[in-house]
Every structure is written in C-alpha cells, then in structure tokens.
C-alpha cells in the first residue's frame, strides 16, 4: 500500500527554497507560499557543513530521481511479473493528470517554476496502489492528490501525504475504486528487493527514523498479537513479508513533508500509525489499515510539531553550523549534505 508521496524526498520536495521566499514573517505559511513543493532547498554553498560534504554526494542527483526510478521499476515489475490490475492507458492518464494538475497549481499559486518530479512520484504511487475500471476516476485521483498539496496546508506544510489523501478521499467518497493490498504477494525475494530499494531512497531522504520506527512498532504489534493468540511465528512473518507494507514504510510514511520535525515526534507518530494500522484489520476488520491510519493521524503532525518542536534537522550525520533560519522560514527538512544547485538563484542559509 504505499508509496508515495509526492514530495517524499526530503531534500527535494521538501525544501521550499528559502531563496524563493523572501523573509517571511511568522505568519503561517499558507497559500501564498505554497512551498515550492519540489525544489531542493538551496543551500549556502559556503556553509561549513557543505565543506565537509563528500564530493561524491555533491554530484548526486536530486534524490527524487532515485525515487522516481524505483517507483517506475516497481510498476514495471508489477505490470510484467505480478500482473497488477492496471493497464497502460490508466498509467498514462494518471501520470498526465498529475503533471497537468501540478502545472495548473503552479500557475495558480504563481510559483516560479514548474516542478514535475514530485507530481511524477505521486502519479507513480497512484499507479502502484489505486485500482479502478474508469479512466476518469484515475484522473480525478491524480488531480485530488496534487491539489491537496496546495490546498491542505498548515504551517507551510501540506498536512496529508498526497497520494494517501487522494486514495482515501476517493474511497471515502464512495467512488468505485479499490486498493489491492494482496497484489504484491509475499515472495521473500521481492520483500528483500523492495527493502533494499526502499532503503536507498530513505537513506537519501533522511526520514529513515520514521520508517524504522514504524516497522519496529508494527512488527512488535504483530508478533505480540501472535504471541497472545498462540499463533505460529509464521503468521506475523507472513503479514510482515508484504510488499504493500514495505512500500508504505519506505515510500509513504517516510515523506518528509508530512512527518513531524523532531525525531521524538516522528517516533511517536510512527508508533501511532502502527497502532492504527493494526487496529483497522484486527479490531475493526476492515482493509487498508495502513492507508486509513496514516490519513487519520496526519492531522496530528502539526500538533506534534508544536508540542515537540525539536531541531529542525534530524540527521544522524553532523550538519552543524549554519545559522538557524527564523521560524517558518523553511518548512521541511532541507537536503542533507548535498549541495543543491540552486534552482532559483539565491542561496539561503541553512542549519539544523
């Protein structure tokens, strides 16, 4: 169930280029600054942390390209090997609608540049997850997904993981769409492959903690439940060996745009989402627990951010001394030590 996230990659998606926003006051970032959902946060190349950054990293591509490549690869694998219930026209319509919606929102919000990457990520995620017999609904899902990024914002961050919101909204509204959590099967090899690929993205994306915390809590719940019920370990292992779960953990919940800023907040959030994700199938006996749980709990993130402000930048690697931007200046985890090539000209000071 899961991938997604339009702006899942930290670096990128997230950081609204500080440059692009002139010193913003504390006013809650909102429509006027629909944070460039995708441009990498330009960093001050002279910042000390950059000086430490390995050269190799500097040359690395925007991590969103990794994510796009991984999601596209998964989709190709799903279509060719797993025979996902989606046909190429739906893929084309979903991607086109996502890109067009992004373009339209960019214009309406008067953003300086059209950024197709996060829209592509959202579109690919929809293709991996959403199933419908109607092309128009595939397009509608893409449009809702993209516009939610621009419309549903608090403190300059969008509230919901866009793909998650798009899917849940359509299901909740009663449209004939569905998600097939069983489509991935439980092939161990595939699980392993997904974990590696996902890990790649997460490492580039900075939100590994939330992924690991979520997986840890979720696994603990499943094993705890199995222990209580007296089930064989094969049962929770079978539940964990799910492509849907890995996709969710590595590509959706890790979306830096929609996770709490502090590590404590993220771990707490991961625990809550894991509990919700288990409650839906095991207490309510409904499907798609991961998606419902994340959607229901996402509105808590702004609250968590206020209660647990924590350092803005929670990388395990050092980043140190750049001056801290005023509150509200940047919304997201800025890119790790990568020197962003400023997309919009100016460079902004940055610091954890």
């Amino acid at each position: 169930m899961t991938p997604s996230a339009a702006s899942a990659v930290p670096v990128s998606a997230a950081a609204p280029t500080a440059a692009s926003r002139p010193a913003r006051s504390r006013a809650p970032a909102t429509r006027d600054t629909p944070a460039p959902l995708q441009s990498p946060a330009p960093l001050d190349a002279s910042a000390p942390r950059e000086a430490k950054a390995p050269r190799l990293r500097r040359r690395m591509l925007d991590p969103r390209w990794y994510q796009i490549a991984v999601l596209a690869g998964l989709l190709a694998f799903g279509l060719a090997r797993l025979r996902f219930e989606i046909r190429l026209p739906q893929v084309a319509v979903t991607l086109a609608a996502a890109l067009l919606a992004q373009l339209a929102c960019t214009r309406l919000a008067r953003l300086p540049a059209f950024e197709p990457r996060s829209a592509l990520i959202s579109g690919l995620s929809l293709c991996l997850l959403l199933r419908t017999d109607h092309l128009a609904l595939a397009a509608l899902a893409a449009v809702i997904t993209i516009t939610s990024k621009f419309l549903l914002r608090v403190d300059g961050k969008h509230v919901f993981n866009p793909t998650n919101f798009g899917i849940v909204a359509l299901i909740a509204l009663g449209f004939p769409v569905w998600v097939s959590p069983g489509q991935w099967g439980n092939v161990a090899f595939f699980a392993f492959l997904m974990a590696c690929l996902g890990g790649l993205v997460v490492n580039r994306a900075a939100r590994g903690d939330v992924t690991l915390a979520f997986l840890g809590f979720y696994a603990a719940i499943l094993f705890g439940r199995a222990l209580w019920l007296g089930q064989r370990p094969a049962v929770p292992l079978h539940q964990l060996q799910s492509g849907a779960l890995l996709l969710f953990a590595f590509f959706m919940i890790s979306d830096p745009r929609t996770t709490p800023r502090s590590r404590t907040g993220r771990v707490l959030f991961a625990a809550l989402v894991a509990a919700g994700a288990a409650a839906v199938p095991f207490l309510l006996y409904r499907t798609n627990g991961l998606l419902w749980s994340l959607a229901a709990l996402s509105p808590l993130v702004p609250l968590l951010d206020r209660w647990l402000p924590g350092p803005r930048y929670e990388w395990s690697h050092p980043v140190a001394t750049a001056p801290k931007p005023p509150r509200g200046e940047t919304d997201e985890t800025p890119p790790p030590r990568r020197v962003a090539v400023p997309e919009r000209g100016a460079l902004a000071p940055f610091r954890p």
């Binding site: 004939p176 099967g185 209580w228 019920l229 007296g230 049962v235 539940q239 006996y285």
Partner: protein
C-alpha cells in the same frame, strides 16, 4: 475438480472452514470443498458444500463462526444449486471450426469442469460435563438432518477434551489452533447427522449447511482443516456480491491463464488439462496464490457454460437483496427479477506451509468480466486447392506448433508427447493437410 482431488488424495478428514472429523476409521474423501459466500456490507450467508463420502453416522463438522447463531440463521440448502453455480462458473472449452479459405460457422461447445459433492453430518448430544471443561453450549438446534451445537469455551484444552469425549475426533495439534480462534472471540459451530431426521428427509446424501450472520469479518477460517492434513487441499469459493469482484487481501489473487488456443485432442482430456494447468499455475506462484477462475455478472454469460441461476436458486443460496433491489434499468438482472449478483469464483490449493493465515477477503468495485476459457480450432479439411487453400495449409503447421508450445507451457507436459498425441509429423504437418479431392470421394 472434485473427482480430481478424490482421485489424487488419500483418505483424510478435513477441509475448509473447519474440519470433518470421523468417529470411526471411515475413509473420508474430503480434500476438495466448496463454499458459497453471499456478502454485502456486513451481512454474510455461508453455504458449505463438500464432498463427504463416508457414512453419515461418521460425519462431524467443526467450524469457527464469528457470532452465536440463532436457529433461524441456520438452514440446510440444496447441493444441486451449488453444483449449478459450479457449472455456471466453471472453466470452459470453446470450439471453432475454420471455414473453407477458398470461399467462410462458429460452433461453441463447452466442457465443464465441475465440482460437486454433498456434505454430511451426525448429531450427538452434549453433556453437562461441558461446564466443568469450561465449554458453554450456547445453543442447540436440529436443522434438517443435522444436530447442531454452538459452543463457546474458555480454554482450548477444555474444548478439545469436550469434542473428543463427544466423539468429534479432533486431530492431535488442533488444540493450539482452537485456542487462536477462542482468543479472537469466535464461537464453534459443530454438527453431526441426526440419523432419524435424515431418514425423514429422504435424501441419501447430506445437504449443504448454510448460515447467515452479520459481522464485519469477511474471512474463511481454513487453519483447522490443515491441522493434520497430509497434503494440499482444494477449496472453491463462489462469492456472490452486489458491487463487484472479490479478492483476498492477505494473499495474491491471480487470474488463471485464459484464452489460450490449445490442440484439438485436449477436447477429450479436458479434466487432465485443467488439472495440469492449475498445478503449473499454482507452482509458478510458489503455491502462495489464490486463483480467480471466473468473475461475471449473473445477468448473462458468453459463452454460457451453464444457464445463469434463477432468482429462486439465488435466494436459496442466500442472495438477500433481490427483493429490495429489483435492478435499475440498464443493470443486469437475474431471471425472475432483482439485481444480478456479481459472481467471483476463486480456487485455492493450500497447505499449512504456504497459507499460514486464514483467508481474508474484500469486495472490490471491479466489474470487469473474466472467465477461464480455452480455445479449440478445428482446421478446415476440404480438398480445394485454390491458392488461398495452399496458403492456409502452410499456416496450419505454424499454428499447431504454437498450440503445442502453449499447451506445454500451460501444463508442463512434454512437447514431444504432445506432438505424438496431436498425430503430426516433426514439421507439424498432418496427414490430413493436403487431401486430394478424389481421396475423399469414396470414403465415408
């Protein structure tokens, strides 16, 4: 598929939702089960057909159920309707006859792959000892030829002891599985055949048990049946829903190969073909998938392997919305009125190693049609020799080669063996390819 599994399987005693247990050493052939699930929102009507072949006095059934059932929630159905549903949704063979290429009927035949077999039961009273064992007899009914008890229990050990003392021979190791269901708050539906009642019914074979209940749980408990299974078991699930196709959420649901063109000789060996094809498909999915064999609106079919079920038959199976939804204009309707249910036929071969969890389902909005359909094309055997006919005969060889390789890939059969059964030469040509007009003249 039944006879299939009967042929393949050694005697044993278990199946789908629960298990059939024998009180004696009767040989029970029961590796193939059929379940009809009528589902809309939280309402479920479950019909359990199976192929119990032992003495009715030796039948006993134990099935976990989500709620305590009232008398009116239990019914004894008609196996013939289950068989009809099976025939309607069965994979089919379609025949086409090539036309004379020189100047150009489609004939559709069908061969069904059928399941069948009735259930069976036995009845037995419970004892007050139940209480001492922590077993509560929540309800006790006689329905048709069955004596039925609904049990709840505090401890699986107590339940196991009670079942054994009451001649429900529980396989060793069942206690642990019973415990997991008890912890989930499930009750146990246990049935035996009341021989007196059975004599009154006049039926020789046992009829399917049906239960109607309201619960968000949309699942089939299969683990009890695997406790002492000595090989994989076969389960057919026919889901009748309002919205669309049903699939499993905790296992992959995969379509069986379909629309494949296969050699003519398979017409006489369709059951063998289907069995081999299913085995190959299951192995390709590491024996971890549930297979979709049919998904269609009951309002029509094309080709029909059997006529769609009538309104009365559907009502008997538990389709409860026929009266309150007469079917909007333009919507498929069943014979006799009412919105046609969407039929999903799922086929799963399972064992404990590959199916550790019970099957959990969801109803999707998918209304696209699917059927297991295999095509035979009979070549034209005329003696004309116009240029088109010559071209046609040349193309036949290529077609045969392709059909043979398709069959080999689908079934895992040996290609050389297929070729010999097709009675063609190494270059895929056949004796009948170029018959002169006079060679047929005086032949019958």
């Amino acid at each position: 598929m039944l006879f299939l599994s009967a042929a393949l399987s050694p005697p044993s005693a278990h199946s789908f939702c629960g298990f059939y247990v024998a009180t004696g050493d009767a040989r029970l052939f029961n590796k193939s089960s059929q379940v009809v699930l009528v589902r809309d929102e939280d309402r479920t009507v479950l019909t359990m057909g199976s192929d119990f072949k032992g003495e009715p006095s030796e039948f006993a059934l134990v099935v976990p159920v989500p709620t305590v059932l009232e008398r009116d929630q239990i019914h004894v159905g008609d196996q013939k309707i289950v068989e009809h549903l099976d025939a309607y949704s069965a994979p089919r063979l379609v025949e086409y006859f090539d036309e004379n290429p020189c100047m150009m009927v489609k004939y559709e035949g069908k061969m069904l792959f059928r399941n069948a077999a009735p259930t069976a039961g036995i009845a037995e009273d419970a004892a007050t000892r139940a209480k001492a064992l922590g077993v509560t007899i929540e309800a006790r009914y006689t329905v048709g030829e069955y004596d039925i008890l609904i049990l709840s229990a505090k401890q699986s050990n107590g339940l196991e002891t009670w079942l054994n003392e009451n001649h429900y021979r529980i396989p060793p190791g069942a206690s642990r599985v019973l415990a997991t269901y008890l912890r989930q708050g499930m009750k146990f539906f246990v049935a035996k055949v009341n021989l007196k009642e059975q004599a009154k019914t006049g039926f020789k074979s046992l009829r399917p048990l049906q239960m109607a209940y309201e619960s968000p749980k949309f699942m089939l408990p299969i683990r009890l049946g695997m406790v002492n299974a000595d090989g994989p078991q076969e389960l057919f699930i026919y889901a009748l829903t309002r919205e669309g196709r049903v699939e499993t959420t905790n296992y992959r649901t995969v379509k069986i190969p379909s629309d494949a063109e296969i050699p003519e000789y398979v017409k006489d060996a369709f059951p063998d073909f289907y069995r081999a094809m299913f085995r190959t498909a299951a192995q390709k999915e590491n024996l971890e998938a549930v297979f979709l064999e049919y998904a269609w609106d009951m309002g029509w079919c094309d080709p029909c392997a059997s006529e769609p079920l009538t309104q009365d038959e559907l009502r008997e199976l538990g389709v409860f919305w026929l009266d309150d939804s007469p079917g909007a204009p333009g919507m498929p309707r069943v014979r006799g009125g009412g919105q046609a249910p969407f039929v999903t036929r799922l086929h799963v071969r399972y064992d404990a190693a590959h199916f550790p969890e019970d099957l959990v389902f969801q109803q999707t909005s998918d209304k696209s049609n699917f059927q297991g359909r295999y095509i035979l094309r009979h070549p034209w055997t005329g003696a004309d020799d116009c240029p088109a006919a010559l071209q046609y005969r040349a193309a036949l060889r290529e077609r045969r080669a392709k059909q043979a390789s398709t069959l080999a890939a689908l079934t895992g059969w040996d290609l050389a063996d297929i070729r010999s059964r097709m009675k063609v030469r190494d270059d895929w040509s056949s004796d009948g390819d170029a018959v002169k007009w006079y060679q047929k003249l005086w032949k019958k």
